[in-house]
């Protein structure tokens, strides 16, 4: 007899626990306003990243097409996997001294791990992270970018 009672008890318990679960899912089904989906391409205009979001490395240029990189190479040295390659030329300053200047700041977006070391160690704050995340391309080579703009020069006063 006890067995039979247990038998029905177990059935009852099982049905109850199933119903508990169904209540949860069912309640969401009937509350479509709880949907949290961001409709990405539609909300592109309004989509705001957090300001610290690391999307890609950029080198800010001011309106005179000047950047702050002294081509010291510290970032290149600190980068753990060789994402950054800096080529520099030596130019002569007006007062006759030889100085290193940035020729090309090559940054391989397809390799960067966004560890943030380069930005942290840069003595002249020449590079920052931007929020842009839409980078997908068809050709891997497109991911290798030159950060300094064509014809840009070093900002005055940055050593």
């Amino acid at each position: 007899m006890r067995e039979i009672i247990n038998y029905f008890k177990s059935i009852f318990f099982a049905l109850k626990s199933l119903w508990t679960g169904m209540k949860v899912t069912g309640s969401y089904f009937f509350r479509p306003w709880t949907i949290i989906t961001q409709q990405y391409p539609e909300n592109r205009k309004t989509l705001k990243m957090f300001e610290r979001t690391k999307g890609e490395l950029v080198m800010p240029h001011n309106d005179k097409n000047e950047h702050q990189c002294t081509a010291c190479g510290i970032c290149q040295m600190n980068c753990p996997n060789g994402t950054i390659a800096i080529t520099s030329l030596s130019i002569e300053t007006p007062d006759g001294k030889k100085k290193k200047a940035l020729d090309k700041y090559i940054y391989n977006l397809g390799m960067c791990t966004f560890c943030g070391l380069c930005v942290k160690v840069c003595p002249s704050d020449a590079i920052v992270f931007s929020n842009k995340f839409e980078h997908a391309v068809f050709n891997k080579n497109k991911l290798v970018k030159t950060l300094n703009k064509e014809g840009s020069t070093l900002k005055k006063g940055v050593e």
């Binding site: 679960g21 089904f29 949907i35």
Partner: protein, 366 residues
Amino acid sequence: MPFTFSIYDFTGFTQWIDATLRGACSPFWAVLWEMVIVGVLFLAFYAVVGLYLVYAERKVCAFIQNRVGPNRVGPYGFFQTIADLIKLLMKEIISIREADKLLFNLAPFIVIVTSFLALAAIPFAKGLHPIDLNIGVFYVMAISSMGVVGILLAGWSSNSKYSLLGAMRSGAQIISYELSVGMALVTMCVLAGSLQLSVIVEQQRDLWFIFKGHFPAVTAFIIYMIAATAETNRGPFDLAEAESELAAGFHTEYSGIKFAFFFLAEYMNMFIVASLAATVFLGGWMPFHIPGLESFNHVMDFIPPVLWYIGKTAFIILLMMWFKWTFPRLRIDQLLNLEWKFLLPISLVNILIMAFIVLMGWYIGL
């Protein structure tokens, strides 16, 4: 025969077609033409139902899961499954080395043909009943009991371990649960005293069977729902294609359109069991009536039978989807346990209770 089209009764419509055709050509050709028309219509119906069930499932699960689901292909993602179909049609079909090609190709035929034939016996509305056999309930059961062969063949002939394992599982599962489906239906047949689906529907003119048969009918309904979910291989009984265990189960090796047919058949089977449940338990296309409340019944009569039918079927399908997206999956031994130690004994007893109630005349309404 005049042309009478009414959404409340399709008999006139079908008879008109019949008469026109017979008037126009010889009986043989008339029948043939009729067949072609029915066939094409049915094909379209089948495809539309299949595709939109898939769409519905995706939307339902999306809503349950707090997201929106497909919404970029057409308005509200309405053409999503059509895109899928086109893609699958244009997808390479891979044949498997050392597979038994004949059986490998035969398997999708079997699953589709059985679902097609079973669908043929479902009464959609008054007069919209492709085949009205006097063994209707039994016929649907018999036909759908053959679908499992397709699954077993698919699993075996793919020459892959996962497929075979999945096929064995779903084979054992489907045949086991078929019993309970049958028992639940028998219970209702005791009440109806007939197997003919049209008669069964007619009998529920005043009140649906699930209310007429009260306690045993409700039990039978629950058993039917569980067993039918299991028989269609849907979650939480989807062991055969248990993603987390067996990759894709018995159709692991099927690609392209052949896979699509298994996919489609799964949904059509769901539709069939839901229709059968709607017909046998919830009164098919009969409106909801409460004996005695004439004005209420009149209001209900205004809703066309097709809508009643669709509504009930949709409700049961929704219920099955709700199950699937809520519960974790059972293990194979638990699954068989559930059938053989719970559902089968209970439904055996339930038949006796129903018989007793019928014997004593304790059911509601006569």
